[in-house]
Subunit: 144 residues, 2 copies
DNA sequence: GTAGACCTTGACGCCGACGTCAACGCCAGG
DNA sequence: CCTGGCGTTGACGTCGGCGTCAAGGTCTAC
């Protein structure tokens, strides 16, 4: 299969495949005409790469998985090096998520405080107090 | 105060301050010698910027806060435009955090599965089966 | 034979927030 | 006067993962 076909199969672009090859991640055999040739195995490798990329892994971090598959293992994470990447990534994710949650709380608190101060500064719209003995008919008019 | 001094006060660099000025975010008055001159107000603005930057806001997103302060408001988030940024940022944070948690679960699950498969594949270390009638002395060896 | 769809390499562009260097000006202390 | 420490502008480098040309070669269908 040629580069465009593989790209389509994997939902990516030829530029990306050439980039991977340049990085030594997914080298291709060459036909007589100099065109890159790929097989089903390459498609597997590529799918592994894309999956991890979608997870936010850097390209270099996908290399152990690719190497693992290429070594004949059933899946990309059948090798210790891949598991190490998983573990590092988990720790990294936890750190980032924790930091973002912290930020989220800070920003949320700031927003709440700022909104309060704004509403305190402008006291309009008395919010329709319910005075006693002031009931209305059946259709009391939608308040929305 | 001069640029180096302000940078030190705010825990940043002169390069950063020049960058902010180039972006129109923190323009400086000039002394006779062409040196940039800053005052305490600029320090406040700068601190507002740095705070938001630490939160992961892009520079452009800090602009409403800076403008707000410069307009004489008590704090950078006393203006509607700033609140809008807060809200957009919250939504963004929630989305990112959600996505990362999703990824974290996926990666965690993959790791667990892969570890299981590995331990299933290599049955070494028989984990010291207790054969009957093979008891040892008092100190039976800490299993860690 | 020619259009058009594919392929090749090479190289620059992009994004954001600066870092880093070059080459120069200004000013205070000894 | 000279050194050293500040300042100035300008411009290129960084990082990742490609996008997007440009200028050509190849192959297929009509």
């Amino acid at each position: 299969m040629r580069i465009g076909e593989l790209a389509r199969e994997a939902g990516t672009t030829t530029r990306t495949l050439r980039y991977y090859e340049a990085r030594g991640l997914l080298p291709a055999r060459r036909g007589e005409n100099g065109y890159r040739r790929y097989d089903e195995e390459d498609l597997r490798l590529l799918r592994q790469i894309r999956l991890l990329q979608d997870f936010g892994f850097e390209l270099e971090e996908t290399r152990p998985f690719v190497d693992c598959l290429r070594a004949g293992h059933p899946s990309g994470d059948s090798c210790p090096a891949s598991l190490d990447v998983y573990r590092r990534k988990l720790a990294e994710l936890d750190a980032v998520i924790g930091r973002l949650q912290e930020v989220r709380e800070q920003v949320g608190a700031q927003l709440a405080r700022a909104e309060l101060e704004v509403s305190a500064a402008e006291p309009p719209e008395p919010r329709c107090e319910m005075t006693q003995g002031h009931e209305r008919g059946a259709d009391d008019g939608g308040d929305d």
